[in-house]
């Protein structure tokens, strides 16, 4: 699938650990994957380590977390040995992240348009007028109907769906090669959700971006992504082609699928998941 030979992201044996006074908590335990110009999903339940994986790539693991990896590379460049300043420059410019709730990620005292323009100017040498032009174009690209009006709104004046679009616009204005989206649509209504996914899809196909889509929602990622990594307790249970997710072999994947209610498949009782302690071992 990737047109170039070097993958956008290579990860080998990634581990994220937290040192607490009493013990060491391992959030991610030996994760490996490569990302090309595709939509890769990481699915799992809370505590599976899926969000920590996204944060580890961006070097955003909170204290007292520790990130270890045999290889952690962006376009063949080793991120672990890269100096801090350069890594910071990559963040936002080349690799961006969209979080679940835009309310916590937007500055409440700056209009959304200015925030997008500022984001542009941090990565490009541009005048205020040019940045504004860019921001307006970006708002249009994420399907906001009246970009001129929305530009001057403050975060509390926009709805959840629009806020999320603004976040995406802000994250994409630097034209990143990789976008990490952590549950970008779980706080949104289904109809709005579909629009946001369309936007993301278009950006991947048109710009050749790589997308890491972190989610708990198996049916959603199956419909939307190209490949799916199923995580449990910090480990990869299996990696699947998204279209064949429903044929997943691993008992955990099967268990997750079995406990979903489905409008078209009424069942008297939902299956529950029996967690096998062996899944957390090698």
């Amino acid at each position: 699938m990737p047109p170039e030979t070097t993958p956008l992201i290579e990860i080998a044996n990634l581990r994220v650990r937290f040192h607490t006074p009493t013990r060491i908590v391992e959030a991610v335990r030996g994760l490996s994957f490569t990302l090309g110009r595709e939509k890769l999903a990481i699915v799992g339940e809370s505590g599976s380590g899926k969000s920590m994986t996204g944060r580890a790539i961006l070097d955003l693991v909170p204290w007292p977390g520790e990130v270890l990896a045999d290889r952690l590379a962006f376009r063949g460049e080793d991120l672990a040995t890269m100096d801090r300043a350069r890594r910071r420059a990559l963040r936002g410019r080349r690799i961006s992240m969209v979080l679940q709730d835009p309310k916590f990620s937007l500055n409440p005292v700056m209009s959304v348009g200015r925030q997008i323009a500022e984001a542009y100017r941090t990565h490009h040498r541009a005048g205020a007028a040019e940045a504004r032009e860019r921001a307006l174009a970006m708002l249009e690209a994420v399907q906001i109907r009246e970009p001129g009006r929305v530009y001057d709104l403050y975060p509390h004046e926009v709805s959840g769906g629009m806020g999320q679009r603004v976040m995406i616009a802000m994250m994409l204005i630097g034209e990143p090669d990789v976008l990490i989206a952590d549950e970008p649509t779980s706080a949104l209504d289904v109809t709005v959700q579909a629009q946001i996914l369309d936007i993301l899809d278009r950006l991947v196909t048109e710009r050749g971006m790589g997308l890491i889509f972190i989610s708990h929602d198996l049916p959603l990622v199956s419909a939307f992504c190209d490949r799916v990594i199923v995580m449990y307790a910090g480990r990869v249970m299996e990696t699947l082609d998204a279209r064949s997710l429903h044929q997943g072999r691993h008992p955990y994947t099967r268990g997750l699928l079995g406990c979903l209610p489905d409008l078209d498949l009424p069942k008297p009782r939902l299956a529950t998941l029996t967690r096998d302690p062996a899944w957390t071992e090698a």
Binding site: E45, S46, G160, D189, V190, T191, V192, Q193, A194, H216, D217, L218, P219, L220, S222, A223, L245, H246, Q247, G255, L256, L257, G258, C259, L260, P261, D262, L263, D264, L265, P266, K267, R269, L270, A271, T272, L273
Partner: protein, 267 residues
Amino acid sequence: MLRTGSEKAAMPDNGPAPMIGVEGLNVRFGSAHVLKDVSFRVAAGESYGLVGESGSGKSTVLRVLSGLNPSWSGRVGIAGAALRHRPPKSFFRQVQMVFQDPFGSLHPRMTIDAILAEPLAIHGIGDADRRIERALADVGLDGGFRFRYPHQLSGGQRQRVAIARALILEPSVLLLDEPTSALDVSIQAEVLNLLQDLKSRRDLTMLLVSHNLAVVGHMCGRVGVMNRGVIVEEADIAELRETGGRNPYTRELVAASRRVSLGAGAA
């Protein structure tokens, strides 16, 4: 088990009186007209679902029915009596509610024991020890949880405690406000199964509010679809499954739900 002869007599005997009867319910917050002429009936022992997106007014219906929202107009009957704007204490023994967020609905500085003891103390019900133990057992929590604080419990365990709290007064109507949308799917399955078990064991009438059509379809026989403060369509789930709904908005919801379902493949 709870309903005594006299309480039963209080309900009209002519015809199957609904356990919840809402007629022409209107709610306004300032200039915003949040509920517009909402009407529906839920029979005793039935499970009824309200689906809709955020801002559709579905949660406002629950707040009115639970007595938390005193400003409304229209005719509302619940558990055999007309709903008053400031319900009397006895009302709350009949109608209870489970909230969406299991992290916000338990008092952070009270042990599970104290949380469950509170409704008993309010209504002057004795025998608290035995009732609390049984309430915990009923929702599948062992006694070891009794003296823990909410922050020592997982989301699913907290939601079980919230259900135990709602049922410890042995109500006849249980209102559920998105009870599983904050939980992982595997935990959601456990909680939904638990609710179904409790419903059949206790002959509860349930009103489930959710944005998730699949969850409502699993739990309820009938569903009301809400959009912008109006019930745009009322349908049997079986009918909805077959026809996809008559109203355009319903069709959109059903389609959206199907788009993200794994369909026959999961069978």
